[in-house]
């Protein structure tokens, strides 16, 4: 029984992504098997050097750093979206697995939920 939470919303523009992340962390905290997939504009969550002081928001980069502590199994990024938004290994967070076949990943999980 595994859950995949998909975040396709860009960071900071709306709260939908953060709510989905909280849900993923809650599941993981209760020892449920949960992974995260960032796709579409959502891959921008994974960019490094996010300095959010001027917009008075907590950096999602720091939120995500807690994922492994909570026991989130894997963080996936959609390859096509990463290319579209020019995410390269050198400006992407560590511990992210880039995947080619999004549909296959969805099929591997018993529950899939989208942010927002």
């Amino acid at each position: 029984m595994s859950t995949l939470i998909v975040i396709d919303q860009p960071p900071y523009g709306s709260w939908a992504g953060r709510e989905a992340l909280d849900m993923a962390f809650s599941l993981a905290a209760f020892d449920q098997s949960v992974s995260l997939l960032f796709t579409g504009a959502g891959v921008n969550w994974l960019r490094t050097y996010q300095d959010t002081q001027e917009i008075q928001q907590k950096s999602v980069e720091r939120n995500l750093a807690a994922a492994s502590v909570f026991g989130v199994e894997a963080i996936y990024a959609d390859e096509a979206a990463s290319r579209l938004y020019r995410l390269m290994p050198d400006n992407t967070m560590a511990g992210v697995t880039v995947i080619k076949d999004r549909a296959a990943l969805l099929r591997q999980h018993s529950h899939v939920a989208f942010a927002g």
Partner: protein, 96 residues
């Protein structure tokens, strides 16, 4: 800053349908100001594709880690006071 006919303020991410409508509505003498999620367009060099000056709000650019882009997007980064001046110097403003 010479007078801007219409200042287009866009806060939609690149894949939002309204983004394309905004780009199609740009006329000579206009300017485009990217804020919030719209700054993601500079990862795709949108400023190279449009024929009007493109500005991007620096706090939103930096928050999304785009201040580091090696190529250095050619959209001019502006802060809040300059944004206010842009809106004041434009004859019309469209907030998409």
């Amino acid at each position: 800053m010479s007078d801007i006919k219409t200042l287009h303020i866009l806060n939609k991410p690149p894949e939002h349908p309204r983004t394309q409508q905004c780009l199609e509505a740009l006329n000579p003498g206009d300017a485009l100001l990217l804020i919030e999620n719209a700054v993601l367009a500079i990862t795709m060099s949108v400023e190279a594709e449009v024929a009007v000056p493109v500005f991007a709000l620096a706090p939103d650019v930096v928050a999304r880690g785009l201040g580091q882009s090696p190529r250095g997007a050619s959209a001019s980064l502006v802060d809040f006071p300059v944004m206010v001046n842009l809106t004041a110097s434009a004859q019309n403003v469209i907030s998409w």
